[in-house]
C-alpha cells in the first residue's frame, strides 16, 4: 500500500505556496486556546471558578519556573506558557478523527507534523533568547562565545545552530512518527482481510456459521483496534514533548540571561 508522508494540500498566497491543511488545524488550535483563555479571564472573581482556577494554576507553575531569570522573568514566563499550551494542544488535536473530512490531497492532522511549524517555533526561541541575552547583558553577551577557552568558539557558534535544529526536529519527528505508526498499524488488517481469505475462513473454519460479510466486518472492527495502544502512547508523548520543548527553552533563556558570579 502506498503512503504519502509529508504531502500537504497546498494553496498559493501572494505567490508563495502554503500548506492549507496545516494552516486550518493551526488556526483551530489557536482558536481553542484563545477561546478558553478569554472564557477563563472574562469575569475574574476573588474566589475563582473552576476554569479560572486551572489557568491560575498554569500561570503559577510557569512563574515558579522562571523565578531565577532576572528582571524580565514575567515576560519569559509568558513566552513559555504560550509555547507549552500551543504545543500540547497542537499535538493532541491530531488524535481527533479528522479523516472524516476528506481533502483532495493530504490529510488534516496535528499542525506540528509539519516541519515548517516546528521550525518557526524553534526560530522564535532562537531569536528570543539571543535578544534577551543582549538586553540583559549588553554587548558583553557576545563574550560568552569565547567563554571557557578561545578554541571553543566554533563549538559555541555551532550550538547556536544546533539548538533550534534539535528543538524543531525532535518535536516534528516525534509527532510524525506517531502518526505514521498509527497509519501503518491501522492499515495492517487490510493485508490479511482479503475477500478470498474471508470466504475460505467462513467455509472451512466456521463451517458457514456466520455470513461472510459479518466475518469481514468483525475483522475490520478488530483490526481497527490495533492502533489503540499506540494512540494512548501518543497522548503521553504529546505531553512529554511539549514539556521538553518548554523546559529546553527555559534552560536556553536562563543560560543566555544568567549573571556570572
Amino acid at each position: 500500500m502506498e503512503f504519502h508522508i509529508g504531502q500537504h494540500l497546498t494553496i498559493n498566497i501572494f505567490g508563495m505556496t502554503a500548506h492549507l491543511d496545516t494552516l486550518i488545524t493551526m488556526w483551530i488550535t489557536m482558536g481553542i486556546i484563545i477561546f478558553f483563555s478569554l472564557l477563563a479571564t472574562s469575569n475574574t472573581k476573588l474566589i475563582p471558578g473552576k476554569l479560572q482556577a486551572v489557568f491560575e494554576n498554569i500561570v503559577t507553575i510557569f512563574l515558579g519556573m522562571t523565578k531565577g531569570m532576572g528582571k524580565n522573568a514575567k515576560r519569559h514566563s509568558v513566552l513559555l506558557m504560550t509555547l507549552f499550551l500551543f504545543i500540547i494542544t497542537a499535538n493532541l488535536i491530531g488524535q481527533l478523527p479528522w479523516r472524516l473530512i476528506h481533502l483532495p490531497h493530504g490529510e488534516l492532522a496535528s499542525p506540528t507534523n509539519d516541519i515548517n511549524v516546528t521550525a518557526a517555533l524553534a526560530i522564535i526561541v532562537l531569536i528570543y533568547y539571543i535578544t534577551q541575552g543582549i538586553i540583559a547583558k549588553g554587548p558583553a553577551y557576545f563574550k560568552h562565545y569565547v567563554q571557557p577557552m578561545f578554541f571553543m568558539t566554533p563549538f559555541n557558534i555551532l550550538e547556536d545552530f544546533v539548538r533550534p535544529l534539535t528543538l524543531a526536529l525532535r518535536l516534528f519527528a516525534n509527532i510524525l512518527a506517531g502518526e505514521v505508526l498509527i497509519l501503518v498499524l491501522g492499515g495492517l488488517i487490510m493485508t490479511i482481510l482479503t475477500p478470498e481469505g474471508v470466504m475460505s475462513f467462513t467455509q472451512n473454519f466456521l463451517g458457514n456459521l456466520l455470513p461472510s460479510t459479518w466475518v469481514y466486518n468483525i475483522g475490520l472492527f478488530l483490526g481497527s483496534l490495533f492502533p489503540l495502544p499506540i494512540m494512548f502512547f501518543e497522548l503521553f508523548v504529546a505531553f512529554i514533548q511539549a514539556l521538553v520543548f518548554t523546559l529546553l527553552t527555559s534552560a536556553y533563556i536562563s543560560t543566555a540571561v544568567a549573571e556570572n558570579h
Partner: protein
C-alpha cells in the same frame, strides 16, 4: 544491486543500528531512577519529573533514526 533493494537494506540498517544507543540509554536511566526511589521513597515525585524529561530527550534520538528511515523510504 538495484536501488529499490538498496533502499530496503538502508532502511533496515538505519533503524537497526539507530535504536541500540537509545535503548541502552533508557535502560540506564530507568536503572538510576529505580535505585534512587528504592533508596529514598519520599523523593519519588521530584525525581520522576527529571526522569520523564530525560526519557523524552533520549527517545528523541531514537526518533531521529526513524526520521531517517522515513526520509529514505518516501523522499529520497
Amino acid at each position: 544491486m538495484e536501488s529499490a533493494a538498496m533502499k530496503m537494506v538502508a532502511m533496515g540498517l538505519a533503524i537497526g543500528f539507530g535504536v541500540i544507543g537509545p535503548g541502552i540509554g533508557l535502560g540506564l536511566a530507568t536503572k538510576a531512577i529505580i535505585e534512587s526511589i528504592a533508596r529514598q521513597p519520599e523523593v519519588e515525585g521530584q525525581i520522576s519529573k527529571y526522569f520523564y524529561i530525560g526519557a523524552g530527550l533520549i527517545e528523541a534520538c531514537a526518533i531521529y533514526a526513524l526520521l531517517v528511515v522515513l526520509l529514505i523510504a518516501f523522499v529520497l
